[in-house]
């Protein structure tokens, strides 16, 4: 009985794991026995695994990942530092919302990535251009999530703080900040995807190092197993961060589950 209960609890991840492994086997077998493999056009899991091991053990991929991460961290931190205060300001002051909302919404809804070539010729292919692009893409999720969070702040709590003689500062730090925390996490989750877009575009376009550059270089030189290994590594990192933040969101705000578009 206990065994059966355990099984039904883990059924979903189990079926998922089986389907992933099954697909890998199918892919491997199809290209080993049935379809002749053209190494300039396609690859198979065993070759990818070898390339992944080589590239990670030699440290080459880690170096690329570290270089991209540095740009990502700078751009992302700037987005947090700039985005959160703007969001709070817009949410707390009605006129600030009226002034800023149409302009920022227009920017958020536009493919700002179209500015990438200009950024790269202006800032060069180094760190600054990447950071600027990542910041530009990642700042809006913070602004608009914090904005929504402040608007949903409980008025009663604000009144209580005021009644007990709290100052403007107390309202910000004792009421608004704790209640926007889940929204900040939700914003961070969306911003991560957009930040990775920033990395990829700037490194595909003009860079000499970084994970995006590694992917496009392996593609240009027809080293498909290495290319898949790099893509796979980036996928792992992206899944760890987005799923981690999603879990954090559920812990911080269990009531929000299922309401939000992804």
């Amino acid at each position: 009985m206990a065994y059966k209960e355990k099984l039904s609890e883990y059924r979903r991840p189990l079926v998922g794991a089986v389907s992933v492994v099954g697909l890998m086997f199918l892919w491997e077998f199809a290209f080993t026995y049935f379809i002749p493999l053209d190494p300039f056009f396609f690859t198979k899991p065993s070759l990818i695994a070898v390339a992944f091991k080589e590239q990670t053990l030699s440290g080459a991929l880690w170096v690329d990942l570290a270089i991209s991460s540095k740009a990502f961290l700078w751009g992302f931190s700037l987005a947090v530092i700039v985005g959160i205060p703007i969001g709070v300001f817009m949410g707390w002051r009605r006129r600030a919302e009226y002034v800023l909302d149409p302009f920022l919404t227009a920017l958020y809804a536009s493919p700002l990535v179209a500015l990438a070539p200009l950024f790269i010729i202006f800032f060069g292919v180094g760190l600054t251009g990447k950071v600027a692009l990542i910041f530009l893409l990642a700042v809006f999720p913070f602004v608009f999530n914090v904005f929504a969070g402040v608007k949903c702040t409980d008025r009663l709590l604000v009144n209580v703080v005021q009644s007990f003689g709290g100052k403007e500062k107390d309202i910000y730090f004792k009421v608004i900040l704790p209640s926007i925390l889940p929204y900040i996490v939700a914003g961070a989750r969306i911003a991560i995807g957009r930040g990775i877009v920033g990395i990829l575009v700037s490194e595909f376009y003009g860079a000499s190092e970084g994970i995006g550059y590694a992917i496009s270089r392996f593609g240009d030189t027809y080293r498909l197993p290495e290319m898949f290994a790099a893509i796979f590594l980036l996928m792992i990192v992206a899944v760890i961060f987005t799923e981690g933040l999603r879990k954090l969101e559920i812990i911080l705000a269990p009531w929000k589950i299922g309401q939000e578009a992804r």
Binding site: S110, A114, F122, F140, F144, R194
Partner: protein
């Protein structure tokens, strides 16, 4: 005087919002006449009037039409394919537990990673023609559609399903009467997100290894320091994106008036 004040009060939101954008454009226009820009910056600087002039020139010389046409084809075909695949797949995974469990790891992994990582691979496979762009648009747009349709099906009222079931409805009838109408608002959200991803695919896909399209126009103009042409391209993308997402958004808020406010996402 009084009427002016009441006029302002009634339209304060629109006046402040529009006024700020106008003010920014005016400020941008007047920068070169207020301060003399150093050579390193003036090379990268343009003004709104210059951008409008460049647009006029491009249209008159019949240069921009073919770029717009190629980009539009990539966008429409890619997004259309994404709808054709994403909606049915979302419906099916929402209704079938086993398919849901099987596809979940793939959907999670591909959704967390921007599908732009596959751009070099798609160019290698499909060449620099229109199909690599259509595919990058497709893989970008299909996941938001799939996931939101899935959410819509999952969030269907269990009681309603039980009721139609009790009255002897088949799976197809349950789908038609309860599940599909219920998931429409979710699908619309998915569509709005998909439009953004699709445009991203068009822009970036055309930056690399393309010979036509607005993204290509932007990239070549940037390398030739024709900043006004870059901004023409950016402005067109902005305009299209705003018109499409805002009209979907309007439709969406009509359908989901009862839902609590959540943050904007694009």
């Amino acid at each position: 005087m009084n009427t002016l004040a009441s006029f302002y009060r009634e339209r304060e939101q629109a006046i402040l919002g529009g006024g700020f954008i106008l003010l920014l454009i005016l400020a941008w226009q007047s920068v070169p006449s207020l301060i003399s820009l150093p050579k390193g910056i003036s090379l990268f600087f343009t003004t709104p009037v210059e951008v409008v002039k460049a647009l006029y020139q491009l249209v008159v010389r019949n240069e921009i039409q073919s770029h717009v046409y190629v980009s539009a084809v990539e966008f429409v075909v890619g997004l259309g394919l994404a709808i054709l695949v994403g909606l049915p797949l979302g419906l099916v995974t929402g209704r079938s537990k086993i398919l849901d469990a099987m596809l979940d790891p793939f959907v999670t992994a591909f959704n967390a990673t921007p599908r732009l990582v596959f751009l070099p691979l798609l160019i290698l496979w499909l060449g620099i023609g229109i199909w690599s762009k259509i595919m990058i648009v497709f893989v970008g747009a299909v996941f938001p559609l799939l996931i939101n349709t899935y959410e819509g099906v999952k969030n269907v009222d269990r009681v309603l399903v039980s009721v139609v079931r009790s009255f002897g409805a088949s799976e197809w009838q349950t789908m038609k009467v309860v599940v599909l109408p219920n998931s429409v608002p979710y699908v619309i959200v998915g569509l709005r997100l998909a439009i953004g991803r699709a445009l991203l695919g068009v822009v970036v896909g055309e930056f690399f290894g393309a010979s036509k399209g607005l993204g290509f126009m932007i990239a070549t103009a940037a390398t030739n320091y024709k900043v006004d042409v870059v901004f023409v391209g950016v402005a067109i993308f902005m305009g299209i994106s705003l018109i499409l997402t805002m009209s979907v958004k309007r439709f969406e808020s009509k359908l989901t008036r009862w839902r609590p406010e959540v943050a904007k996402t694009f």
